[in-house]
Point group: C2
Chain length 461, copies 2
């Protein structure tokens, strides 16, 4: 074992190779409590592309698995260590290499924190849309590897919609450049989007060229309260059907509302029998935003909302959004969380939430549903006592029952968190044997020795 | 040879297997005059997925190459036959399977004509954005295989931005389903976008699930005339820099303007020393569109436009757009056309157009430039006498000189037409040896016998 450690130290310097178990343990897991993890041989923190190449070559020669990771905010165990692996923590490579204001392009290293990039481009009047909940600490490299979403997706798409090109260190240590700096281009296969969302199984992303947008206007916000889940769902369907495209459309069910009210000591309507809150924003600016939100208000009223309120005061809008963002924190008071991530056709959201209520009753655990109603991506969150093996077991039953329901409704088992190490069987169930063969063929083409994040997403024969 | 023909007839019925050379010849080429083509063994017109599977299995057993094609409107030779191949013409599979208005999704077979889909979804108040110039006769299958663009891309993206999922017949005849019906989803690799733009080299697309948008408002149109190319380019850069996102932004150079004036017997300003026309639209509707076009007007004036005119009369807007769309037809009066397709960063458009003028002078041939200024995708078009071997040679020199300039400016050798059979060396030059190895590994993973469109995009060893 000493040879590979020597090689790693030569590759990146002694101080960038961590082997103290008390230290390396902090790099062996992401935020998903139910995902298994192994023990790393070492954690390596490369500072340059050349160092990444040297590490990959050393690992390839010794046939040591490599698990790339960013900040570890993931919710699928995709960044969890496997036994005897080298964890390649990309956080030191955190330079914003370039912001090209005139072409609306940024070039960044993978360790840049999402919020840091947002802040840097905002100074140039530009906008990097993808905004996963962990945006104040997750990294762009992690966002790329999971194809992260967020609240903005309903209008601006997911991470892959903002990526023009990548640099990736391949299994043989060679540096692959994909894509381009131009906004259009069809020269060759779209390898860029193959790597985005591949969860570190095909190579190590060392640089990304990102497309930026004009900074939108400060948003106006509409909140609508419904006494029945069905009417909230009807409002979502009608908003989509009428061609309204808000820049954000979030839904919270009764369990989420109640938890947030307790946590923030605020009043959102649970006491008045509010079964669902719908939160919409428009960033179109001025009269256009006012018109969009008026139309959304009208749809909500027509669908049967008990209360509809619109504000163009940024502070009030932020407070409403903060209530939505506080749901998971608010739920943590009651126990450990298992957060699901199903995405269904937008017309099926109500059925999914209703099924979650039923699952909750069946397993006898609190299940709160929040989600990105605008694209059907729901996060039913199961609350359980982490010290009770029985509750943990029941939580898992609920977790899987909700995934099954998502598939039954024509949806997917993961809208934005990824497969990782917790949904491998579900990937197979969703895509079927032919697609699994295609996945394994692609994996073998890029990583014939199966050294990049082995066992994440699927296992090789 | 009779065995394979027997198998094909058994697979699709006698009448769907064409072997008369006078008939098959019409299926052996696309619209690119300089691309080589071979002679097909047969043209097969399957009517069902099962028939496609049977044809692929028969060809695989006999090791006969398969060249899938749509309507043949391509401009790269990607759909051109190779000697002894089966041309798989997908035009009979032209059903619009489903339009799901509430979820804004359409499911279509590959032979659906782009315009037919546009018209069908418009009845539901929906919009399928990709609009290549040939939209009134090209097929969705061809659009998918080339990742077609069009005039709308500046605001709505290219074909791949509108695709949620595919069904693809693989080399072993199995049917692969990629993607999903939901607007978000990250289960597994993004195989959907790997197939989009793969020019028929990885499988045969038999169905697509497409994301639709709300039908935009009727557009307002602004036209600006510039007496110097530089000032037009400066206007484009400033429009991008100021965060304006028109729904269309096209540029025509002096040679294009002159040709259209002659062809349409109209007056666009060439006689008054107009060096470039910029044509912009906004489909944001009402006051928002008026505000956007006023801002664009102001930028054009500030940049030095001689004349700026805005209209919200749909008929006048259509006339202006018709002038832009007439450029290639207008040029055909002067000879055969070789249309280039480079995409450069938006700040480099002027340099590209200036280089085209210089190339024109050097080779002694007319070179007219039109293009999608909003995304830097330019179509310099070289006019030559098809009966003159010398002019043909000089046209090729010009064609390649423009590609080289595009790369030099940080661009790509193809923005939307594809590599096909005419730019294989240029693909290698653009992406380099590591990326070429990655391309060949992907190709081998999906098509180990190299039977799908062999020699298009790149050759296998």
């Amino acid at each position: 074992m000493s040879t590979i450690l020597d090689d790693l130290r030569e590759a990146v310097g002694d101080s960038a190779v961590l082997v103290d178990p008390d230290v390396t343990r902090g790099y062996e897991r992401d935020m998903m409590p139910t995902a298994p993890n192994g023990t790393a041989l070492a954690v390596v923190l490369p500072g340059t592309v050349a160092e990444v190449q040297a590490v990959v070559r050393a690992c390839a020669a010794a046939k040591v698995p490599i698990v790339p990771r960013g900040a570890g905010s993931g919710l699928s165990g995709a960044a969890n260590a496997v036994d005897g692996c080298v964890v390649l923590a990309m956080t030191r490579m955190n330079a914003i290499v370039e912001i090209d204001q005139d072409n609306r392009v940024a070039v960044v290293q993978p360790g840049v924190v999402n919020l840091d990039l947002r802040a840097a481009v905002e100074k140039h009047g530009l906008f990097y849309p993808p905004d996963p909940s962990s945006y104040d600490w997750c990294t762009i490299g992690g966002n790329l590897s999971t194809n992260a979403g967020g609240l903005c997706c309903v209008k601006y798409g997911v991470t892959s919609d903002s990526v023009l090109g990548l640099e990736v260190v391949l299994a043989d240590g060679e540096l692959l450049r994909t894509g381009r700096r131009t906004v259009k281009g069809v020269a060759g296969y779209d390898l860029t989007k193959l790597f985005v969302g591949s969860e570190g199984t095909l190579g190590v992303i060392t640089q990304a060229t990102l497309a930026l947008r004009p900074l939108p206007q400060a948003p106006g916000t509409t909140v609508a309260a419904f006494s029945a889940l069905e009417t909230a769902g009807e409002a979502v369907s009608r908003i989509v059907r009428e061609g309204l495209v808000p820049s954000l459309m979030e839904i919270m069910d009764a369990a989420s509302i109640a938890a947030v009210e307790t946590h923030l000591k605020t009043e959102l309507g649970a006491g008045r029998g509010c079964a669902a809150l719908l939160l919409c924003q428009s960033d179109s600016g001025g009269e256009a935003a006012a018109r969009e939100l008026r139309a959304i208000e009208q749809v909500c009223r027509d669908a049967g909302a008990d209360l509809v309120h619109t504000t163009f005061d940024p502070a009030e809008g932020s407070l409403l959004l903060a209530a939505r963002r506080a749901v998971l924190t608010a739920l943590e008071v009651y126990g450990a969380l298992m957060t699901d991530d199903v995405c269904v056709p937008r017309t099926r959201i109500v059925e999914l939430i209703a099924a979650c209520e039923q699952v909750s009753a069946e397993v006898g655990l609190r299940v709160a549903v929040v989600g990105h109603a605008g694209d059907g991506n729901m996060h039913p969150t199961i609350v359980y006592d982490p010290d009770s093996a029985d509750e943990f077991r029941r939580a898992n039953v609920a977790f899987n029952a909700i995934l099954a329901k998502g598939l039954e409704l024509g949806g997917t088992v993961t809208g934005e968190h990824g497969i990782g190490k917790i949904k491998r069987e579900w990937l197979e169930r969703e895509v079927g044997p032919v697609a699994m063969r295609a996945h394994r063929a692609v994996k073998a083409a890029f990583d014939p020795e199966n050294l990049f994040n082995p066992g994440s997403m699927f296992s090789m024969p």
